[in-house]
Amino acid sequence: MSTNLMSGAKILLECMVKEGVECFFGYPGGVTLPFYDALYDHHIRHVLVRHEENAAFAAEGYARATGKVGVCCATSGPGATNLVTGLVDSMMDSIPIVALTGQVHSSLIGSDAFQEADTFGITRSCTKHNFMVKNVAELPQIVHEAFYIAASGRPGPVLVDIPKDVFMAQGHYTPVTSIHLPGYKVFTEGHAGQVKRAAQMIWNAERPFIYAGGGVVAANAAAELREFTELIDAPAVCTLMGLGALPAEHPNFVSMPGMHGSYAANMGMSGADLLIALGVRFDDRVTGRLAAFAPHAKIIHVDIDPAEIGKNRVVDVPIVGDVKRVLEKLNKALAETKPAHAGRNAAPRRAWWGQIRAWKEQFPLVPSTSDTEIKPQHLMAEIDRVSGGKAIVTSDVGQHQMWAAQLVRFSAPRLWINSGGLGAMGFGLPAAIGAQFAQPEKLVISLVGDGGFQMSIPELATIASYGLPIKIIVMNNGYLGMVRQWQELFYNNRLSSVTLDSFPDAEKLAGAYGFKGRTVEKPHELARALDEAIREPGPYLLNVKVSPFENVYPMVPAGGAINEMVMGPPQPVPVP
């Protein structure tokens, strides 16, 4: 191992190599000049985005598509503050990213120097942890700690703030062989006794129901989830963050639960006598009114973060641990005890499945179509068709996100990439950039609304300059659709500042960047237009004009119980 003197900038790159970083996303500036100079003849690939916020989103896209730590970089002051939305987003969705920010020269910190911002202070509450490097000697240890913290336990964003003089100072890269964070607790194994209790509870249940979330994706536990589901043969829902954890085509898969979840998913949760919650956080968008959530159910809750246990819902069997490790143990315990419980509760379980199927048939999630206009649901069905369950689909937040979550089927985790907890507009396009760099061979569809798309329009330049074959599909309804929906339903249809009546000509816009694009508005043209976009070897911008006043249903109004669903425009459906 080399112990030659080298600059802090080079030491940082050395650390990144050791951490397996192949590419990262950033935007240079004054104080990161020494770093970018070191990068000039280095093999690590730097992707120049067009706005720092999108560097963070792209790093997230990279991390979400692979499970590896995504890296973004920005200069001091405005560069660093522009990262903040991406940091909060990754915090909310537990995505491992490391943000590297330049800081003004140590001697100037606190002097209101040019492009100085208190990055360490600003990002304290929106990172899992953050560091400020004081001297070059501590740089390697800190960088390796940052990667370790980001990726281990409940993943999250970690920021390292590096003053310009630390980049320039000469130091040694001494290999860091161990990380000692005495206060950093990671619980992975799960309590054996609790696992046993959970298994017993599962066999005792008459109406078990699986509630799987983003934790299953983060833990790479899809195979274990599938085995578990089949062992106990219970119906399962995947949350917005967990879609794909169980393949959509799996016979036990019901759909997404929650505010815009399916009837069967929400009725299933409400009727269950046992809810097995795996890597979820009982988010308000899933539970609706907490007091009325799953009122008959005992709860088994598996999560790696002890603070999630009992945070929103009292739990009967808490298991703190990595979902993958816990499910391995639980599956083993279940397999061992299964023969002894053969035929146990067979009749009620059959009845339970009958009920779930009846709910599914009563209100299936079927895409509505029209002869005169493209229904958004029709678009989702088409995306589902071209994806065949295999494409990476990124989205922003809003109506398009909900329709996609309802109707686009995913056969594996890490294909559905969206801003779940934070609900950040402008996420979909840069996330697609990160995902495409992570999975160059995969079809990446960036499904965005006309609002969110215009927040991330600068990144068309990034897509063009790297020739990324991303298929950008704009679901264009001319409104901030979800806000419009709420104004229609809850504010007497007083549409206040939600009209997006100017949208660039897609063909010209894409053409200006040197790639193809078009607008489609006739339902019978949609399939062909989409096929053409997919066939195109390069990027493609497809602007799909959809019916402007379509609302997302089913819907649980804010504050409602999840079984009090509004199934469609006219009347709420009476709950049995």
């Binding site: 050791k18 951490e19 397996g20 360490f120 202070g121 304290r124 509450s125 899992k128 942890h129 953050n130 400020m132 390796h144 990667f147 370790y148 913290i149 990726a151 290999p175 860091v176 062989t177 161990s178 990380i179 000692h180 964070l181 005495p182 206060g183 950093y184 607790k185 990671v186 973060d305 002890p306 603070a307 009992g310 945070k311």
Partner: protein, 176 residues
């Protein structure tokens, strides 16, 4: 309700802010906070008294335990513990009234640490209740000014501290 939290944390820049930020971002008001380093100069012991919704006490402790710099967060509200506070008090009292003040101080186990023509500075320790009484008494002798440390607490039940062992870096793990 007032929750008493004892924290052992790394003596690192920003560590204090992480703890107070966690409370502040949830809108909890900190009644008092004391912090100083422990026998191990790399660690600090902090005692916080904070006004928290009683349903959220356990959540606050869990969130604090999640902070990377926090080695141990313990709720001392209900557990057997000793709490003490230091109070410095300046009372403006004319020379003729001082004997009485000194007598009162003795009753409370307080002692005079400074004396000047304007008055006396008295140091008292005790639990919050006792100090309140002392303060009340002193105020009857003249204009007072007070500086209080806030509670310092120690658990009576020695809770074993579990430190996380070092872990190999990713590179090392790959090599293994």
């Amino acid at each position: 309700m007032l929750q008493v939290i004892s924290l052992l944390l790394e003596n690192k820049p920003g560590a204090l802010l992480r703890v107070t930020g966690l409370l502040g971002s949830r809108g909890y008001n900190i009644e008092s906070l004391t912090v100083a380093r422990t026998l191990d100069p790399e660690l600090s012991r902090m005692t916080i008294v904070v006004d928290v919704d009683s349903k959220l006490c356990a959540q606050v402790i869990k969130q604090m335990n999640k902070l990377v710099n926090v080695l141990q967060a313990t709720d001392l509200t209900e557990t057997p513990s000793v709490r003490r506070e230091l109070l410095l008090l300046r009372v403006r009292v004319a020379p003729e009234g001082r004997t009485q003040v000194l007598k009162e101080a003795e009753i409370f186990g307080a002692r005079v640490v400074d004396s000047s023509p304007e008055g006396l500075v008295i140091e008292a320790t005790g639990d919050a209740e006792k100090l309140e009484e002392f303060l009340e008494t002193m105020r009857s002798y003249g204009e007072t000014e007070v500086s209080r440390s806030g509670a310092v607490a120690m658990s009576l039940a020695g809770k074993k501290l579990k430190l996380q062992p070092p872990v190999p870096t990713r590179v090392e793990m790959v090599r293994m």
